[in-house]
Structures are given as C-alpha cells and as structure tokens.
Symmetry: C2
Subunit: 129 residues, 2 copies
C-alpha cells in the first residue's frame, strides 16, 4: 500500500539511517535511525519520529524535551539506505546534551575537542531525576 | 596508541556511519561507512576513505572516478557512533550515479522523485565496461 516505504532498503534490523539537517542554517544536527513506522509517521505528521535503538521504542523527537523537529523535506539516497530530513529545530537544540547539535566534537591534534557550547543544562531540559 | 580512534563506538561490524557535507555549499553529499583504518587514513591523508560494505574493501573516495574529497574537518557526535566530514568535492560530483550528491530523491505525494540532474553520465565517469 506504500510503495515509497517499500523503496527504502531497510537493514537487517528493519532500520534506515536518518540525517537531520537544519533547514535554516544548513548545519547537520543529528544522525538517528528510523524503522518503517517512524518514517511513515514522520511523513504523515510532519514531525520527526525515530527509532531509539537503546530504548527499543518509537520516539517522537522532542516528546520529552519539547525540542521537536518540524520536517520541511524528506530525501532518500541513491541506493535507498539513507534518509535526509530538512527540519526546523524547536528551541535551537537538537542534542540531548543541551548542545545545538550532536556533532560538537572536532578532531584536532589527534584528540576530540568540544568546540560548541552547551546551550541548556540537560537537567533543565529533562528534569533532575 | 590512538585514543581518538578508541573513542569511536564501532558497531558490531567494526564500522561507523560517516556523513560527508560540502564545505562550500553545506549540502549533504553522502552517507557512507568507515572502519578504523578508513578513519585513520582519512585523518592522516586529508582525503576521505570509506569502507565499501558491498565490495568489502577499503576505498579511497574518487580512486576510480577522480571525485576525491579533500577533508577540511572531522567531527564526532555526542555518543560516538557517527562521523561528520566537511569536504571539498572534486569535480562537484559525489554520487556514483553522476549526480552532485546521493540525496537526489525527494518525497512528494507519497512517491520519490528525482529532483536533481545527472551532471555526468556514469559511463563517462567509470568507463563502459
């Protein structure tokens, strides 16, 4: 019933990698994973949904933090095993660490350096307990 | 000897996902995979190396096509399981299909549509046989 979902090459775990890129700044925010339901709901609702591999559950991005991602565009790559979302990031924070985005570690002189600030304390995002 | 390589959370196959983003245009070009050697060589040489899952071999991007990627920056994400490269894309073509990038299929009305042109015939890139 959904040929466009069948066109995705789901991996052995039924997942596909999904890149979220900020539609306003073009910055790459996150790499997450989607199962079929996550991609279907993302397209249907216009809000990014992912599959949490650690919690093994569907997850509407921002359901706890409020940092939802409004999806402006959904792309698939040439061989069907990667998704690219262009999103409007609520709160300007995509990462659970309170950084704007997950890619805040830069390789310099054979070491990873945090080169972007924490914008909000995770305790203030998720609560203390 | 290489703590920065040990900081990467390699998956069960010894791989990490690597996003290549054009340093000039900010466009997301590809999602590929790296093993430890690919990441080490990328950092050492300043040219993107990946692991080809289909051919099961290390692959210097552009070794056949000439479409090498000069790496300007290497980033790691918050939980260590995704890499972001900022690259200068030789020839302006990252995709083996001859498109500028792999993400040329856009979801519109429940179907994927090719919305970006083929810049060069793959036969002209790779030869005819």
């Amino acid at each position: 019933m959904s040929p466009w979902l069948d066109a995705v090459r789901w991996n052995a775990d039924g997942l596909v990698a999904a890149i979220a890129q900020d539609a306003a700044t073009d910055r790459v925010l996150t790499l997450a994973w989607m199962n079929r339901e996550a991609l279907e709901r993302t397209a249907a609702t216009g809000e990014a949904h992912y599959w949490s591999r650690s919690r093994k559950k569907l997850w509407r991005k921002g359901e706890q933090s409020g940092h939802v991602q409004a999806v402006r565009e959904i792309r698939l790559d040439c061989d069907g095993d990667a998704i690219l979302l262009r999103v409007e990031q609520a709160g300007g924070i995509a990462c659970h660490t309170g950084h704007e985005r997950c890619f805040f570690k830069k390789l310099e002189k054979d070491a990873w350096h945090d080169v972007e600030p924490v914008l909000k304390d995770p305790k203030a995002i998720y609560g203390d307990g």
